[in-house]
Symmetry: C2
Subunit: 415 residues, 2 copies
Amino acid sequence: MVQVAVMGHGVVGSGVVEVIMNHRDGIMKRSDAELNVKYILDIREFPDSPYADKFTKNFDDILNDDEVKVVAEVMGGVHPAYDFTKACLLAGKSVVTSNKELVATKGAELLQIAKDNNVNYLFEASVGGGIPIIRPISLCLAANEVIEVAGILNGTTNFILAKMIKDSMSFEDALKMAQQLGYAERNPAADVEGHDACRKICILASLCYGKHIYPEFVHTQGITKMTLADVAYAASWGGVVKLIGQVKKLDDGKLDITVEPMLIEKSSQLAGVDDVFNGILVRGDSTGDVVFYGKGAGKLPTASAVVADIIDCVKHLKERKFVFWEDGDGSLVKPYEKTEYPIYIRAEAEDKKAAAEKAAELFPDMKVIVRADAGENEFAFVTGSMKVADQEKTIAALEAAGVTVQSKIRIAADL
Amino acid sequence: MVQVAVMGHGVVGSGVVEVIMNHRDGIMKRSDAELNVKYILDIREFPDSPYADKFTKNFDDILNDDEVKVVAEVMGGVHPAYDFTKACLLAGKSVVTSNKELVATKGAELLQIAKDNNVNYLFEASVGGGIPIIRPISLCLAANEVIEVAGILNGTTNFILAKMIKDSMSFEDALKMAQQLGYAERNPAADVEGHDACRKICILASLCYGKHIYPEFVHTQGITKMTLADVAYAASWGGVVKLIGQVKKLDDGKLDITVEPMLIEKSSQLAGVDDVFNGILVRGDSTGDVVFYGKGAGKLPTASAVVADIIDCVKHLKERKFVFWEDGDGSLVKPYEKTEYPIYIRAEAEDKKAAAEKAAELFPDMKVIVRADAGENEFAFVTGSMKVADQEKTIAALEAAGVTVQSKIRIAADL
């Protein structure tokens, strides 16, 4: 019988206990090992819980109990989750987590401590909720060089964009709806500003390329400026706008890593990922494109991924999994202004005809796109691939000619 | 240094050697173990191969070499692959394979032998080519009851159907094109009659439900009777026709398992799986729907999955993976005539109006659907859910009233 502790009894934490208790027979059968939740750590009181006798407010109860071999950290946030995780690993306990913020900011250090203490630090639930993605990348794709990973990694923003695309709802109304449905938090910044997606692409990039990519190395832009005009132009171009977290290995060995809204073609496997779903494309040199799709969040999907990691630890108590990356200093990352890609631009000008001519002169590969109900002074176009620094210079030149650029959105030509 | 043997130097086998040799550095880095291909078994001569010195025609060279710890069986077919695999496992060598026919017909026996000899028998490449699916199901979804698996498991038939749907090509022309492109074999029966998809759903069902489901337990129907008329009606109904391999756990604990063309709604994640791609939906009680998409066949994708299994064996030389199922006698499978589902019917009658009235009387929940360019005497409708036995009786009654039923296709209402 392996004793497990669950730190945190919020949405995911209560789900972890529920999944273990509901699936004990199946888990026992499959894992050849019995497991039991011995402690649940939370500072709150849960007197009505059927597991009331397991609750503790004292982390030392877990730390000092040698019977506890596996700890699930589902508290979220960096402190005290970081300190607790570190202490558990140092004490020879394996830790599994859904805490993407912690993995994205402290992963390399915690993985090294796990290695030094011959225990595991697993985090399948930190990306894609219930979608298996960490393990498929690290195991199944072991025989591939990963050329690119691109994903819809945040369900909340995808829900908002889907409402804008399908129901012509404004960003503000769609956000309100997401909050009413419980998909978005009262302070939605971590989602709508792209920080959540950034943490996830950092974890995937670190896993694929072996060095920690910290969030501060990554150009991150959310969806707060997205308008229905842009959504309509995307449709007329033949695609949709999605918030994409992407990392691509460039020919010079550097990584083009970013989180930003992108225009993707209708035929892309990511274009059909709607509502709160996530979709992650992994492009390997041998395997080609593989796409993983499912619920990226939610109590039971996320909890079941945490429990799968617990089972894996219980099965391999004396053996380390090979999930690992070294610390990184950002030198792998191509500076954002040096990356290049095509863009979509929407602009306004008093003299639309003259402005469009100026745009055609400044952006030689540009193609005008149109939409129904466009404003009188509005025009839009897409360009060929350009360095970000050149995009900015050229846009400045366009604006100097009396044009107001209202949107610039990256085009993901290869998704 | 772990020595590996590759049995078979066809498309997949040569890919396995290529992937290992191209990725040696990355594999070494990731797996903390060096591996080397010591033998390649084939009865043919490959004098120009850069690995000519590794070839042998004598299986005993591999069997009797204690240095060889892992063997990749990529010969295909049941004999002699079965005998060779068995001998290797009995000799304490782990075996990995892409051979779905062997796993589907002899899996339980070979898994038992592997267990008894404390070695591994892994077959990630047997389903979905380069798509990770066996490992995600067995590991990541360990904390789920799998309610249903449904997939587009055969790229050749999916290519043919996509050509029919998108380019209004006839079945015969699309098959010819698939043959010209090398997607279909000269004798295409295993693909177009559904046998290949059947082997794959058998493997997935055995894995999910713990008992071997043999192909002979599974109702299997191919796509040879598919017509452009049916494709057009499917579109007017709001969906597409796909060849689906499906296993569903019913309330009575039995499995509804089948391979047959099905009408699926446009909004289904499987509807967008085109060309030679595969897509597999796994529905778990905790995780909800998870979909895996990618190239289901091809030299490098399949080879990379084989190599991933080799790496896994090398990493865990002294430890067994928990991929296992017992033998099965078919008692888990619901007899096909007792399963129930809605159907689409296309029929012809001299007096179309009277026939439609008769159909409405016999199938009380039916809804007529129409298409452009329908034949003068043609009509079509969809029904509510009915037992297969009742479908057959009711169709017989309709035919007794002078109606000729030309197509009956299952509707997958839940995909």
